[in-house]
Subunit: 132 residues, 2 copies
């Protein structure tokens, strides 16, 4: 990515941002529909600012760790109201901690499932060995 691409004040098309962040333009429209993004318009066409790009970056990062769009929206809303960032930090901290607990729980479930599947595999292998 060139420095040009990150210059504040410049604008982006929907496809440019989608490619840069590895998502589809449909996803960007969807985020807008859900109130996470609100780009300017040139006629019908969406025009994304440097700030929109920053918001999208946060969205993508949060999604990567599995936060739901509704949660991400809350965090973005706090940022937009500009409480000096503190309210946003508190909310983000809550969301991160809750998500960590969920993921740790999920990991336990996955380990159990893998154990159960391995037992099943052994049983099936034995059955097939006996059948042939």
């Amino acid at each position: 990515m060139s420095a040009e691409l990150r210059r504040p004040g410049r604008t982006y098309t929907i496809r440019q941002l989608a490619q840069e962040f590895g998502c589809t333009s449909r996803a960007l429209r969807f985020y807008e529909d859900k109130g996470l993004l609100f780009p300017a318009r040139d006629g019908q066409t969406r025009v994304y600012s440097y700030k929109d790009r920053a918001r999208l970056r946060l969205i993508v990062q949060c999604k990567r760790v599995g936060l739901a769009l509704a949660e991400i929206r809350e965090i973005l809303d706090l940022y937009n109201r500009g409480d000096g960032g503190e309210a946003q930090a508190v909310r983000s901290l809550d969301a991160c901690r809750a998500r960590i607990r969920e993921l740790e729980q999920r990991r336990v479930e996955i380990d159990e499932a893998i154990r159960a599947l391995n037992i099943g595999v052994q049983r099936l292998e034995k059955q097939l060995a006996g059948a042939s």
Copy 2:
């Protein structure tokens, strides 16, 4: 559970099976809609046989390890065509192994997400400590 409940030849209502296997009657109707179950009818009312109960048991076990309903249906279909169980065993083995790979991949992703979240938590805590 009494021996009476497991006697072959007896029948079950939708609610009885749902309670026994910890799902809802809506779920049982859904499985039927998707071709995984096909209980008899007494007028409008569904009547589940001992075999239906065995099928449901397999469905619940497969679901617990995260197999999709479509995959479970394939396995059940093989069982129903009665290839002596071998075709079903082969298909089950494939499904189990594929699922194990998926889960191991998922575990890696979860570990990465947890690591990223912990870094975020530390950063946010530092930010809040500096702000107050």
